[in-house]
């Protein structure tokens, strides 16, 4: 952690993440208004003393909506990443450890999946599964799996030929022991780092799906959906688009910067 805080990027990432996490954990309780309450006299207003960040087309308080949407949005990012990274890493580790023909078959299938752009792939899956938050989460997780598998595999491959692994094999250790005790602890760094960076992608894709109406459904306070709903009124009150947009950007940047700093901290070559 000290290493992360030693770089300006790391500090910025940690600060952004702290703000987002406080919002995600306490958002619904510190929100000044009910997020679904209509203030019909104050529709489409800019920031004011009553409504710090303005109101949307129904006169709902934007700050309250953002704070209420934070847990859903951040959970979506974390959940989709955890699922995608988990499944992807398992596949990647199996391919890397097994090697030979099994590796070849697994990786060619994943290459096929990687050939499709991530967003298109996600849209395809959502189209099959139907709209909704859970479906969108599954779709993002599936789209993440092949890329994560590749990273996990290359990380395992680089460790697998180290001499301490050879020593374990020469000693006659079981394959499971070698994987769990010798390979994984040394291969996990790059996987964790990639996972943090991917949280921001997941949030962006989730927001995109929400914007396209394929993720969360109204009257949800999911940030992507908020942008989408406010779009029609963009010229009368740009705050409706700007506020959730900034919230998404802050979260994505927070995870991104944190992930970058984490990678540097894990890399022994960059530390003195």
């Amino acid at each position: 952690m000290r290493k992360i805080l030693s770089s300006p990027n790391g500090v910025a990432g940690v600060i952004l993440l702290a703000i987002v996490m406080i919002a995600a954990l306490l958002g619904p309780w510190i929100a000044p208004y009910d997020p679904q309450l209509f203030h019909s006299q104050n529709r489409l207003e800019g920031p004011s003393l009553d409504h710090w960040l303005g109101t949307d087309q129904y006169g709902r308080d934007l700050l309250s909506r953002i704070l209420n949407g934070a847990p859903a949005t951040v959970l979506f990012g974390l959940g989709a990443t955890a699922l995608g990274v988990g499944v992807g890493s398992i596949i990647g580790v199996i391919a890397g450890v097994a090697g030979g023909r099994a590796d070849g078959v697994i990786m060619r299938i994943l290459d096929g999946m990687l050939a499709m752009p991530e967003l298109l792939f996600t849209l395809l899956i959502v189209t099959f599964l139907g709209g909704g938050t859970l479906q969108a989460l599954l779709a993002v997780a599936v789209a993440f799996t092949p890329g994560m598998a590749r990273i996990a595999r290359s990380s395992v491959l680089s460790v697998r030929t180290r001499e301490y692994v050879l020593a374990a094999r020469a000693r006659g250790e079981s394959r499971a022991w070698i994987v769990v005790r010798e390979v994984l602890p040394n291969a996990i760094g790059p996987i964790i780092v990639e996972a943090t960076i991917r949280v921001s992608f997941a949030i962006m894709i989730g927001a995109t799906l929400g914007f396209l109406g394929l993720g969360a459904q109204p009257p949800s306070t999911e940030w992507g959906l908020m942008v989408s709903e406010a779009r029609q009124f963009m010229f009368r009150n740009p705050w409706g688009v700007i506020i959730p947009g900034i919230a998404i950007a802050m979260t994505a940047m927070g995870f991104n910067l944190f992930g970058d700093a984490l990678r540097d901290a894990f890399d022994p070559k960059r530390s003195h």
Binding site: S6, R162, E163, L166, A170, R171, G172, P185, N186
Partner: protein, 554 residues
């Protein structure tokens, strides 16, 4: 200072100090270094890794990283100070007035340019030649370095030339611009013994022809004694001793130099007792071969000429109980391949008989075999899992083979640490907190923890400094004699193996050349290849030793 001497010297470093800025404050890399190289002189800088030899070379050519700070002193090349020169002035000096030859010839050449173009480029840049002149001159330069068909070599790319040929091209380039000084940074370390020897001969010949001054950086004292006139011994960034090679090596004044020279392996200083008596062999390799690449059916159909690639083939030799068998060969000779086959890390052909039991494939090795045959690898940094404590690393074989009851494991680990002369508190440390030599001791302790009958040591001293090497060799011999285990000691260092081994097997290109008892090494009926190897490595005499003070035993 003495102006007249400054003018005479090609290079004069005066009280130069330098430090690197790091997170933990400045680290002084060079302290008050002074040396001078006269025209035609070869000045060697010797020292162990981390002593600052390469930093000094970088400092002279002013190729320093951003966090380097000059702390004072002067670096005079032909009288003008290199410190404070502008980048454009420096790029005029580099290559034209000072040339450098680096350790690894394969990474110091541009892989996407032909060798000829790389020499021509330097000639045109520094001597302003026309393309045609430069091309002619380049060919002549290559010819001088003993390359047989220079015109053909000019058209080749680096990957089409051998390591020795590449190093010749680099030396040709360095000399082509008639520099005042050439800096050689370990120019033969990455090469095989015989190739290295040819490069050294080439250097001596070219020096004779051109009279160029040279700064020769090396950790190899034997080599330095052959090429250099004067020497500076660098220790932790300080020159502790300086003078004529003969004087310094015959009568070293500083304790560090004495230690360094005493640590050099000398065949006459035997470390092992007499060979064990004639016995039933412990392990016998019978026509063992390791295939690295076998063409698949499809490849054979499409390219009928494709041949299988063998790392080693038809290897037969045996080890007796308690015997220390040396396996010597250059890189690519298949010596490590055999170690991997014998420890089940690579499938093999043929058969291995161990303790009366015959194994025909790597997967037949049972737990008992794996306990009895242990391996120690070359790189101490790589052979210990960085995420485990030393204690857990050493406890693993004890638990795996159930050698001691669970309650006594910690005690046994402490014993093992003491056995390899490490404090027992090391059990709670992590590998990165240990030095290279300490890590290698742990790796050796781990091998002996299994109470094996045979320990295979694959180049275990190759990545260690000379002084650590000697201690490691002594430790191994001691452990081996006390435990009664046999040992296969794989190395490229013939002097070292002659000190240790009872018997020597010489390998080349994946085959056994011959095997002989160590005391018969210098007999005239040795194979020509073995004799070449022996002649390629100079043996330095022990300083101030009454019987061997006549200098070098070639």
């Amino acid at each position: 200072m003495a102006e007249s001497r400054t003018e005479a010297a090609v290079l004069k470093v005066q009280n130069y100090s330098m430090a690197y800025e790091t997170e933990n404050g400045p680290v002084e890399a060079l302290k008050n270094v002074s040396l001078s190289v006269r025209p035609g002189e070869t000045h060697a800088i010797v020292g162990e890794s981390g002593s600052g030899k390469t930093t000094l070379a970088w400092a002279i050519t002013r190729y320093l990283p951003d966090n380097a700070r000059d702390l004072g002193g002067a670096i005079l090349l032909g009288g003008d100070d290199m410190i404070g020169k502008s980048p454009s002035a420096l790029s005029d000096v580099r290559g034209r007035r000072v040339a450098m030859v680096y350790q690894d010839p394969s990474s110091s050449l541009n892989p996407s340019m032909t060798l000829g173009d790389q020499v021509i480029e330097v000639l045109r840049r520094h001597r302003g030649m026309s393309p045609a002149d430069a091309s002619r001159e380049a060919e002549a330069a290559l010819e001088r370095t003993g390359i047989r068909n220079p015109a053909a070599m000019m058209r080749r790319y680096p990957h089409e030339a051998s390591g020795g040929e590449k190093q010749r091209v680099i030396i040709a380039t360095a000399i082509a611009c008639n520099p005042e000084l050439i800096i050689f940074d370990e120019p033969t370390t990455a090469l095989d013994i015989l190739t290295a020897n040819q490069i050294i001969e080439l250097f001596l010949k070219l020096r004779e022809e051109t009279g160029v001054a040279a700064l020769y950086i090396s950790h190899d004292l034997g080599l330095v004694s052959r090429v250099a006139d004067t020497v500076s011994v660098l220790y932790q960034g300080e020159i502790v001793e300086q003078g004529d090679v003969a004087t310094v090596f015959d009568a070293p004044a500083h304790a560090y130099t004495q230690r360094l020279l005493a640590a050099l392996p000398r065949p006459q200083d035997r470390l092992t007792d007499a060979a064990p008596g004639e016995d039933v062999p412990l392990m016998t390799l019978d026509n063992v071969g390791v295939c690295y690449y076998a063409p698949t059916l499809l490849t054979r159909l499409l390219e009928p000429g494709t041949k299988a690639l063998y790392g080693a083939r038809n290897i037969s030799f045996s080890v007796k109980p308690g015997e220390l068998l040396g396996v010597v060969g250059e890189s690519g000779s298949g010596k490590s391949t055999i170690a991997k086959a014998a420890t089940g890390l690579h499938p093999f052909e043929g058969s291995i008989t161990f303790d009366g039991k015959r194994y025909d494939a790597a997967r037949d090795f049972d737990r008992e075999y794996r306990r009895q045959v242990q391996i120690v690898f070359q790189h101490p940094d790589g052979s210990l899992n960085p995420r485990e404590t030393i204690g857990r690393i050493l406890a693993r074989p004890l638990r795996l083979y159930k050698l001691v009851p669970g309650a006594q494991v910690a005690e046994r680990v402490a014993e093992l640490l003491e056995m390899v002369l490490l404090p027992r508190e090391f059990a709670s440390r992590y590998p990165h907190q240990l030095s290279g030599g300490q890590k290698q001791r742990v790796a050796i302790a781990r091998a002996f923890a299994a109470e094996p009958k045979l320990v295979i040591c694959d180049e275990i001293t190759a990545s260690l400094d000379v002084s650590v090497q000697a201690a490691m060799a002594r430790l191994l011999v001691d452990l081996q004699a006390r435990s009664g285990a046999a040992c296969i000691f794989i190395t490229h260092d013939l002097n070292l193996v002659r000190q240790l081994a009872h018997r020597i097997v010489v390998m080349r290109d994946g085959a056994v050349v011959e095997s002989f008892a160590t005391e018969n090494t210098e007999q005239p009926d040795r194979a020509a290849y073995t004799q070449d190897l022996i002649n390629a490595v100079p043996v330095l005499a022990r300083p101030a030793h009454p019987t061997t003070t006549e200098g070098l035993l070639q």
